[in-house]
Symmetry: C2
Subunit: 156 residues, 2 copies
DNA sequence: CTCAGATGGTTTTAGTTTGAAACCATCGTG
DNA sequence: CACGATGGTTTCAAACTAAAACCATCTGAG
């Protein structure tokens, strides 16, 4: 971990978060945490990964402040793992991932889980990126502006 | 690759896309592709990763239809790597990642690149998930509905 | 009290992956 | 026709992954 620092010693705004998450397993753990899973054994059963790996991933998520342990909940003497605010901030990313999956990884007629509004059970809308004036913008409508300088292009 | 199929032989709507992307390098390659990079050497210089790794990642992205090769562009005899529509579909995910990074990985006063509207240079808004009725919804306002059955909860 | 089972890990060990460096092939140019 | 630029592949040591075995703690049953 944290070995990604290839040729620049400050990582860019995309690489830095990636490094913190760690790997795909971590993201699946976070997803399960959004689902309400809290215990080591629950994550292990849900994901089916080796216990040592789960242990390492949880440790990394804790170290990066994405999850935290809370001392108890149902009286059992064990700790539970819950998302911090930083961890809950990953929700849009997971939604983006899920929607991309819906678009390109399922046949049109293939059944798949649907993210719905709790209030009325209707599917949520697609994530949309909007400009200040409210226009929906795509990749081609955006560019990056470097810190204090002026130029730059693309989404780097 | 494709060894993630832990204990279920059909992967869920989040794991399947993750498996296709492959790893973090692939996502950084995609980001660079959004920036307009097209050539093997450009990616390699930008990311500073070993050529064999870049080669493997590009192969994987091609295999999953996220990028494709086009025979030429400036007359040089080499091929170029460009995003497919599926690849361009990753834009919201990258934006989500970047915005999460902005929120939690930079000091309030720390300079960082900013994603701006090409038309007027203003920063884009935050990604927001909206319900059908237009309400902005967070993780706690949503749940998943399983394929054709009725129950299910969380964002799995 | 003691023993078995549940929970939550760590250690061990083999296999896989990574990544730096060296090597190789092709094209275009002087 | 030698040479640099480009775009890779091969080699090999080091790091990481993952399955299984092991270990520690707590709980309830007898």
């Amino acid at each position: 971990m944290a070995k990604r620092v290839s040729h620049r010693d400050s990582m860019c705004g995309v690489a830095r978060p990636l490094d913190a998450i760690g790997d795909w397993w971590s993201l699946l753990i976070v997803r399960d945490a959004f689902d309400g899973l809290r215990r080591f054994g629950e994550f292990q059963k849900s994901l089916g990964l080796a216990k040592n790996i789960l242990s390492a991933r949880l440790r990394n998520l804790l170290a990066h402040g994405i999850m935290e342990t809370v001392p108890a909940a149902d009286g059992s003497p064990y700790q539970e793992y819950v998302l911090t605010e930083k961890g809950r901030g990953l929700f849009p990313l997971l939604v983006a991932l899920r929607q991309w999956g819906e678009d390109f990884f399922f046949e049109p007629d293939e059944a798949h889980v649907l993210l719905v509004d709790r209030k009325n059970g209707l599917p949520v809308r697609r994530l949309e990126l909007r400009a200040q004036d409210g226009r929906v913008v795509g990749a081609e409508d955006t560019m990056v502006r470097l810190p204090q300088a002026s130029a730059g292009k693309g989404i780097a």
